[in-house]
Subunit: 336 residues, 4 copies
Amino acid sequence: MSVKIGIIGTGMIGEEHARRITQQLTGGEIVAVTDVNLDQARAVVDRLGVEAQVYEDGQALISADNVDAVMVTSWGPTHEEYVLAAINAGKPVFCEKPLATTAEGCRHIIDAEIQAGKRLVQVGFMRRYDSGYQMMKAAIDGNRLGEPLIVHAAHRNPEVPERYVTPMAIHDTLIHELDTFRWLLDDDYKSAQVLFPRKTRHAHSKVEDPQIVLLETVKGVRIDVEVFVNCKYGYDIQCDVVGEEGIARLPEPQSLQLRQAGQRSNEILMDWKKRFGEAFDVELQAFIDGVATGELKGPSSWDGYAAAIAGDVCVKAQESGAIEQIDMPERPAFYA
Amino acid sequence: MSVKIGIIGTGMIGEEHARRITQQLTGGEIVAVTDVNLDQARAVVDRLGVEAQVYEDGQALISADNVDAVMVTSWGPTHEEYVLAAINAGKPVFCEKPLATTAEGCRHIIDAEIQAGKRLVQVGFMRRYDSGYQMMKAAIDGNRLGEPLIVHAAHRNPEVPERYVTPMAIHDTLIHELDTFRWLLDDDYKSAQVLFPRKTRHAHSKVEDPQIVLLETVKGVRIDVEVFVNCKYGYDIQCDVVGEEGIARLPEPQSLQLRQAGQRSNEILMDWKKRFGEAFDVELQAFIDGVATGELKGPSSWDGYAAAIAGDVCVKAQESGAIEQIDMPERPAFYA
Amino acid sequence: MSVKIGIIGTGMIGEEHARRITQQLTGGEIVAVTDVNLDQARAVVDRLGVEAQVYEDGQALISADNVDAVMVTSWGPTHEEYVLAAINAGKPVFCEKPLATTAEGCRHIIDAEIQAGKRLVQVGFMRRYDSGYQMMKAAIDGNRLGEPLIVHAAHRNPEVPERYVTPMAIHDTLIHELDTFRWLLDDDYKSAQVLFPRKTRHAHSKVEDPQIVLLETVKGVRIDVEVFVNCKYGYDIQCDVVGEEGIARLPEPQSLQLRQAGQRSNEILMDWKKRFGEAFDVELQAFIDGVATGELKGPSSWDGYAAAIAGDVCVKAQESGAIEQIDMPERPAFYA
Amino acid sequence: MSVKIGIIGTGMIGEEHARRITQQLTGGEIVAVTDVNLDQARAVVDRLGVEAQVYEDGQALISADNVDAVMVTSWGPTHEEYVLAAINAGKPVFCEKPLATTAEGCRHIIDAEIQAGKRLVQVGFMRRYDSGYQMMKAAIDGNRLGEPLIVHAAHRNPEVPERYVTPMAIHDTLIHELDTFRWLLDDDYKSAQVLFPRKTRHAHSKVEDPQIVLLETVKGVRIDVEVFVNCKYGYDIQCDVVGEEGIARLPEPQSLQLRQAGQRSNEILMDWKKRFGEAFDVELQAFIDGVATGELKGPSSWDGYAAAIAGDVCVKAQESGAIEQIDMPERPAFYA
């Protein structure tokens, strides 16, 4: 008896998720779709060959009787509305990041979910499902490194389009790290600072690139993250956790070693969708399984809220050049 | 409309395959099981929570109306009989290696399949579905190495039980390489020779360990494979392909790098089931998809036969110490 | 015709240098030694089996007619005095770091050297002679990385004694990086900031450990250096230079890869003397050759001065927690 | 008091050795040279700026009163004569490989040396002095691998000139491995076999390339060596020793890791002189020190003889295609 899923937003990521659920994952099926562009929604239904109804809008889809669960993969500013509607309909909802474009919006969702008395939201932080990060989490939780003291990380993209401006380095790029480190360290942020190194000649005029974001956690861990979105050479995610007893390094994606033309080399991926392809599979399977068993376990609304708060402070730190405090509200027992 | 599968043999590997199909893969379901031990078959049905009928024997299972496809994961000597029965029933069959315990048995299967006029058999050579070998195959086929000239390989297990005797290094262990290299190189074997290095103190009295198997292909590629089944330190599969323009090395399984106690180290897996876990997923999904589309594409009966013939000659070479010729019959157009 | 060298200070490092010159390097010989402990000076002469005169003090040694060049390997606070004396005697002098314990002391030396009208001082920053750093320098200078934008570095020691207190993380440890980055990037420092992560349980009470030092250069490069002197696992020097076109990583010291007991591992050195053993050889050979040809080329008094100024500001930044400016005086043409 | 050395043969390797002794090593000086081309000998003296006498021929040089030790770096066929002359003159002699072009010639040298009653010969097998092989030797001797069972090795050159013919793969290339494994394993050879894989398109018509040489030792270790002298991509020396308890891999030469243009890569050296540059330094220093202390410890005449015998059998195996026995005469107590 499979979970019947409705998808709001059939752009690139929405279609990929629909394809995954239809062709690769088990226990779920796409029964409803909608998009701001209904033709596109219909085209996706055709391409996937699924029997899914195309709805006029997200609200109609959410209300549909045969929709068990909702996936929100529409434009960011619409997330809050659809997630709230799903909660109000008592239906589990998977929401791509951001949960909402403002921390206040996230807070509305949290209030609604607490009101509903049941976890209904999973936020699309797929890195938690990456096998490499899972190994790192296991090493930390298994106390193989002792207490974590420092994290060195890098998030590098080959290039970004002209519309990508300085704050997007936080909201679109660092946002993944902001969730990942909280989860990895089981910790919260206390302060943020942003440094601007000399700018690469490959960056457009409206983006400072690279940037270094410095984070401090409540437990005192110091984190430095290089965000470099026009690094040219590849999509490269690095993470070293330095603990009292040793250091763990995130594994590189699997690749063939070639000896050729005076070089011993391994390919570096250029595309984030390949880098985290398997993580997306595991993430969505976890959502489907969570819906089926009535127990969602992945990144919660609270995690989405925490990342949003930290992101806002990072943007403030970009602007001020100062060390900015991050004040997280107390975590409700509901999300303990 | 999922593929309805009956499983003959619910030992460890049969149960794992059933679990994969039920919980991880898409498009297939277990509807029938049997085992020489019917209680065990029933226990597996219970553990998986599937609605599958338990049949008295393999023949009954194969004949069952609601069984679309058969998986043979029973004791090796029974494979031939069940595969033949499935072919005769016109049902696709996935058969764990060996396809048959003798080359003659494989030949019977080939004759039956040709007679049936349609590919109905997929042999369980899972390495072809391993992501690392897939990368290597792509590099060779994409002519990135030039013509392959040499393959250096190793197949190492931590240890084997007392019942594992010298010829099993071929039939149970090398058998995977025997298929893999044919596929990787798109080539056939011409001769085999086996060398016995000094024996490790960790080997039981009835097994020569390690061994080095030397293979020559029709195209002139020379292959050396170290088979070392009591290497103690891990389950370690190595493969370098040396070509005219460069060399490719099979990737290591992903692992965390730790810096600790004077060492920079990565874990080596101890268990072949973990090493090829994803390959099993991909392999069985390919079988299910092949059944659904009516077009099986994986390792064929002919591949099972070719591996069996080469394996028999390797055992002969173990005994003679000489270079032994491998005479492959001409490949029928049916398997072109 | 070998360079006749007098050594002031025959402690561990002085004796090692004397041994190098006597047994491994070419073109130099130890003809004079002194130490605050004259018995120790005599013992070193005996152990090395050289015909060297033991002098009452450094000034006497410097004045000795047969001393062509001086090595200052005595206690830090005495360096300034001996270097000045050597300059005044017109004799080339190799001085272990620090050149002087204060920036003002370095300035005295610079004034004296300019007065002497000739480069007479080489400071003991041996990393410039390390083969790995040399490769990195060549890559940067050869424009293989494009303009450098960021440096990520780490300086880790297994442990430090009780007398090692917080500012020593700068003066004794970071001092090497402070010189190395200036040389590597052909740049100067503009600001410094120091972060204190959660303290490791392995650190003594008087040292904050680890620390993260953030440096900004005049060209806008941002540098983060982890200084972790009780990391337990090894003496580990890391350096990544991020440029516009790519990234270079400092090579690990050569080591055997072992596959054993479930691990693929390489040894990490525990001892800085082993890590930079060859660099010491090359450094001292460069000094001897520089003396012989009358042209010293290694790290100059100015480099010693620049490191001292930056070090002082880093200590200030340790205390203030703020971003502190580094004001380098203009470089005299003499050191261009 | 430095060792006064005469060099017979001032071609490329002779000049390099002379330069090393003059500029890099300690305790030796070049006082005499000769060459079949006396102009070249004079040119080398000029280039190095040494005060060395140019002799008419090797015999005159060997007899010269001020020559303490002799280096034979002339054309291979002349080695035997000069080594014998040096032994007869009671002077230590370093002889580049081969010690003699025939095993019989080596035997003459052994007889002469035993007659002289003192070790006077060091053969130029420089790999024993390579830091990587030294680490491997230490691991084996320290019983970290248990008993060695198998060696996998490769000797790859980018390309060879037209005059390089099939047997030179043994006499000029494999000869280094033939010495290295005897030393590494403290063992002798028992049989040899040579396999010819498909030939690379980059090989000239008179050389089979690549080749695989299989060796068996007295203790039962099996060795496979890929000799591939037109591999194009680099000068690449590989060696894995498989023991009962684990496996050691020869370290790669140190190199910078670059991340660039979709690749994570390290340079592979193209030139054997760079690969073993430091080994040559250590080797010649050992010779100088051995002469100075009157105790030569490096590869002996017996080692040169053993390599020659094994090499002859390997050439025989190239021709016969069969497994050929290697019969080593009993080792005289003199070389114990």
